[in-house]
């Protein structure tokens, strides 16, 4: 369970503070796949970063005993490091028992070929997503955070990503942000709507989507 207790999060802009969450308390279940919906700029990505522990609330606490992945988005990793260097870096940071095993897995999964030894700045967005996705699949996280990532890649990769994800889903759940209702229907069964600093929980994803579409 990921529990948020009286969480307030804002960030400064030139026009004053922008509030993403105001005094939110909520428990996210472990056994559901959760969709986060909200309009552009509502703060969905920030919420994902908060859940992933790479951003911090102004006040309140976020606690969990689960291994949560970094948010899988379009950009991640250091642009000046090669795919291989990034892979090894993450494997070391995660305390992987075998760097080689992680490297082999990512090479196989991401199918980057020679690009694996070129800096990430030379990658297309699809290639970045493939590396990022493969890297996260190399570890058995309890919760995977996804930020619009499944929309990229060619059909063959999409299929592969879907299969990998399905194999993880027996033990893990996902929390994802997407604007595609079809995508969310396929992956999730639980919805959270982020609107004007408040989170509303919908046990059924369909309710969440219809509410979101009427915003």
């Amino acid at each position: 369970m990921i529990s948020l207790r009286s969480v307030t999060k804002s960030y400064p802009t030139k026009l004053g503070r922008k509030y993403v969450l105001t005094n939110v308390s909520i428990d996210l279940p472990d056994d559901r796949n959760i969709a986060i919906l909200g309009r552009n700029g509502a703060g969905k990505s920030t919420l994902l970063r908060l859940l992933g522990g790479i951003d911090y609330p102004d006040t309140g606490t976020i606690n969990s005993d689960r291994y949560i992945s970094w948010p899988l988005g379009l950009s991640s990793g250091h642009p000046k490091m090669t795919g291989r260097e990034n892979t090894r870096f993450v494997a070391r940071v995660m305390g992987a028992s075998s760097l080689k095993a992680v490297e082999h897995y990512v090479v196989d999964f991401a199918e980057l070929g020679k690009f694996f030894d070129l800096p990430i700045s030379t990658y297309s967005s699809g290639m970045k997503a493939r590396l990022n996705f493969g890297l996260s699949m190399a570890f058995d996280f309890d919760t995977y955070l996804m930020d619009e990532i499944t929309a990229v890649g060619d059909p063959k990769f999409k299929k592969k990503a879907q299969d990998a994800l399905n194999s993880k889903r027996e033990k893990a759940n996902i929390i994802m942000v997407s604007h595609s209702a079809a995508q969310l229907r396929k992956m999730c069964d639980y919805g959270i709507l982020l609107h004007e600093g408040q989170l509303t929980v919908y046990e059924d994803i369909e309710d969440a989507i219809s509410r979101y579409e009427s915003l």
Partner: protein, 266 residues
């Protein structure tokens, strides 16, 4: 692959090691001569300065050492300690900007990036000074190390000064970009006022009081005095060096503690 449960300390160790390897690659991977540059710079500096000063003093018929320290070693110690301070503080102050994308992994904390850089600089420095000393020994120089512990204390005190200053600027730079320029301005005269070229007692007495505010000068003079018994490190004190080191480290870590969340927040 299964994720192992690790203690916080084990995680930090793994992270610093990962960052360390990355920094090592970046630092030397981009140059054609790679790690050789760590040696070329001080060797060139020492050679040029020794040549100039030897030539200058020869024409006056004077000695070729400073209180028993041969010129080459005198400059070597001065320049190496100065460059330790300069490299550590500048590298530390840029640790965030160079590693920002890596903070996307929750295990990687901002301070780890700074520590990895300080560790790397210290290790490079240590290997360079050992090899330079062996080289000068091979050339038949009079190498001495009277009080090794005191020498190490001076080096460590200087490291604290550099680290504290580096962390402080690293953090405040994120709020006020101009601080980058302030640090550069602060560093510009350091080579000339830290006693790299002259020992403190070669400076006219009425100026010594001003130079004495500079902790780097203290570290350099203390290190020389610790290495050569004949060298009098008068006018400098270990107490002042450590006071500055501890005060700056406290300042740096305090600002870090206040600001680190804001730094990782997007």
């Amino acid at each position: 692959m299964e994720i192992k449960k690790r203690s916080s300390l084990a995680i930090q160790r793994d992270v610093i090691f990962a960052l360390f390897l990355r920094e090592l690659r970046v630092r030397f991977g981009t140059y054609k001569l790679g790690i050789c540059w760590a040696f070329i710079e001080p060797v060139a500096f020492i050679t040029v300065l020794t040549a100039i000063r030897t030539a200058g003093f020869k024409s006056m018929g004077a000695q070729t050492d400073v209180h028993g320290i041969p010129f080459a070693i005198f400059f070597m110690l001065g320049f190496m300690l100065y460059s330790l301070f300069q490299k550590v503080s500048l590298q530390a102050s840029d640790a965030i900007n160079a590693n920002r994308q890596l903070f996307a992994y929750r295990q990687v904390r901002v301070l780890d990036a700074v520590l990895a850089r300080v560790l790397l600089e210290s290790i490079i420095w240590l290997s360079v000074i050992v090899i330079l000393t062996l080289g000068l020994m091979w050339l038949g120089m009079n190498i001495q190390m009277v009080d090794f512990l005191r020498f190490l204390s001076a080096v460590f005190g200087l490291l604290l000064v550099g680290f504290g200053l580096g962390v402080f600027f690293c953090v405040v730079k994120q709020r006020v970009r101009e601080m980058e320029k302030v640090l550069k301005i602060l560093m510009a005269p350091m080579l000339f006022i830290s006693g790299v070229f002259f020992s403190l007692d070669q400076v006219p007495a009425k100026y010594r009081g001003y130079l004495d505010w500079n902790p780097v000068l203290h570290a350099i003079e203390l290190a020389r005095g610790a290495a050569y018994g004949s060298y009098s490190s008068i006018g400098v004190s270990m107490f002042f060096l450590y006071s500055c080191g501890i005060a700056l480290t406290f300042l740096g870590l305090a600002t870090y503690r206040l600001e680190w969340r804001r730094i990782v927040a997007s």
